[in-house]
Amino acid sequence: MIENKIQKILDKFNRDKTRLMDILLHIQSEIGYIPQTLIQPIADGIDLSAADVLQTISFYHFFTLKPRGKYTIYLNNSIVAYMMGREKVAKVFEEECGCKFGEVTEDGLIGLFDTACIGMSDQEPAALINGKVFTNITTFRAREIIRDMKQGRKVEEMFATTFGDGKNASPLIRTIVRNRMKRTGPVLNMSYKAGNTLLKQVAQMTPKEVINEVKLSHLRGRGGAGFPTGLKWEFCRRASGEKKFVFCNADEGEPGTFKDRVILTEKPEMLFEGMTIAGYAIGAKEGILYLRYEYMYLKKYLEDVLDRLRKNNQLGPNTANIKGFDFDIRIQFGAGAYVCGEESALIESSEGKRGEPRNRPPFPVEKGYLDYPTVVNNVETLCSVVRIIQNGGDWYRSLGTEESTGTKVLSVSGDCRYAGIYELEWGFTVSDILEMAGAENTLAVQVGGPSGALIGPDDFNRTLCYSDLATGGSFIIFNESRDILRDVVMNFTEFFIDESCGSCVPCRNIPTLLKHKLEKILQGHGTEKDITDIKEWGNMMQINRCGLGHTAANPVLTSLKNFRHLYEDKIQKTVEFDSGIDLAEAVAESCEFVDRIPKF
């Protein structure tokens, strides 16, 4: 029976080993997990070794070799979830289920698991339950949800509120997720008419003209790294390769970011139009939207949009009536791994492998997906392109500041009255945004997510732009009631420990060592030496291979820079060295085992 199903799934993907992610996702959605016994048949079916299949499975958070319950609750453990009461909710889940997080109830009914930020920071605590998103979970709701599960109700019947605003309520989505578009600007405002730019304008332009217009706009990547988009496209266009590919990076894994989720819900046509324009510009025929697993609830809706675009000649043979431009887009799902947002890891993952970043050079524009020249762009970047072609590069450059042109969509969350997304021209100060969001008594702001910087009031007059405070969009606000070190820095550091792919020694080890240092300092055993160690060790992270490793010490390093007094207050000033080792505790277990009373 199962064997048959597997063969069908393998056939569906032409027994192509580069589609291993899709194969595993299908099997898991069919069976609920990937039984160990299937690994060999899968491997045989696609001409891989069992070890290859296993290493892909083991890399991703949402793949599992063991059943995780008929109902699986993945409760977000990001910082904002904790700020909004996650701990109490988690406790109720555990009490009602009679098992701990990381376990499944004895009857196999309910599994409780942690998961990193699921892109709902403006409506925490939130959880993924069998792929459906539950937001604003209270202890009361947690009890209800478990009761419903024990009664065997369907997950979609467990919602206790109306569907979310905007397209969230549309028949193909039907989610309680809210968009909270607090402010739209020149890119995301209502004036967008799907397909107009592509059909009426791009169709009249040469690829070179398209690239020139994007270059003229000075648009830089909105995914965090800020690489000039026009230049990236030009490199890819010039690179030699039989085929070329456009990827949209919708992995959105940086804790506190959720703007791409809102764009994907409200403006998917615009995003696909941007991908098509990119495809035309670089000479690609295939676009791939790499969508994080957490946004699976958008799958049917987005596929429907793609179908509609195909019918309207905005995709498919001779797209936009451009002869020979047969462009199409498919969706590639991830399976839970922050590092897959890194462009070369994203490509590896799309090829069915572990999401380990590649060594560069060669860059993806030369050798990317299946070794063909590939452009990877963020959701917001590609949407901006549509407006740039529509209104001209000069118009776009008139927005924002001299060297940071255009707008940026921020995901604002944490201690403020109006969490949500804000499209702003570059050049706003941190104070402006705090005021806009109704934040009071602000102690600190995390700009750019854990990989960015933690800043205090002294820096609130600084400007958001590439030359001062660059950001991929995450903006988390902490008020004076928050414990920066114990809660914020610790949570972020643990996030990086969990998400490192493990290839580079510093990235694999130093964050854990920093966490130990932090614990030691918080327990009152810290000394000046611990602070200098943190700084020296943190700086070693620059030798890692990818951006994750380069930034994984940032929570500790930037809090040390901007909140040094918090560290200084907790260390022992007159002690030169403190091991922090409690000998009695260290020998307790071994002495108990050999039946001996510890004596010192």
């Binding site: 030496k529 030169e576 060295f577 091991s579 922090g580 080792i581 000998l583 505790e585 260290a586 020998v587 307790a588 277990e589 071994s590 002495c591 108990e592 085992f593 050999v594 039946d595 001996r596 510890p598 004596k599 010192f600």
Partner: protein, 181 residues
Amino acid sequence: MSKPIIATTSLAGCFGCHMSFLDIDDRLLDLIELVEFNKSPINDIKNFTNVCDIGLIEGGCCNTENIHILKEFRKNCKILISFGECAIMGGLPAMRNDVPVRECLEEAYLSGPSTVNEERILPNDEELPMILNRVYPCHEVVKMDYHLPGCPPNADLIWDVLHALILDVNIELPYEVIKYD
């Protein structure tokens, strides 16, 4: 002026670092012209009889005796050097750090495939050191001044370091000497 004094010890190590020390070969003769040895397995002096200038520590700390000795060294040596991977990071012995100590003891004394212990005797004599929950690198137990990498550190490196410390001259550390990958 009296000669600088050196002490050495092997904690949770395999003595490989000391073997590498002996590999400085004929330079040993130069060394004993330059320094005097105090507590060390090399001369079998068991207790400190003098304040030392340099202490070389091989191995990390896996039991209470290791900790005691390391603290003694800290008290009696002006400069303390983590000598080899085990001292610096815990090394091979630290591979047990991810396994609960209970399971390690169980396997070592009761259930291991090569274990014959019908009476199920466990080492619990008061004279024995107590086993720590994990193996600690030296710098987590006391302040260490220098780290000499390698498993074991290369004899030339050991010589160069001692030479530089004793004569108070600068040391050349070419990349190859400290890169182990």
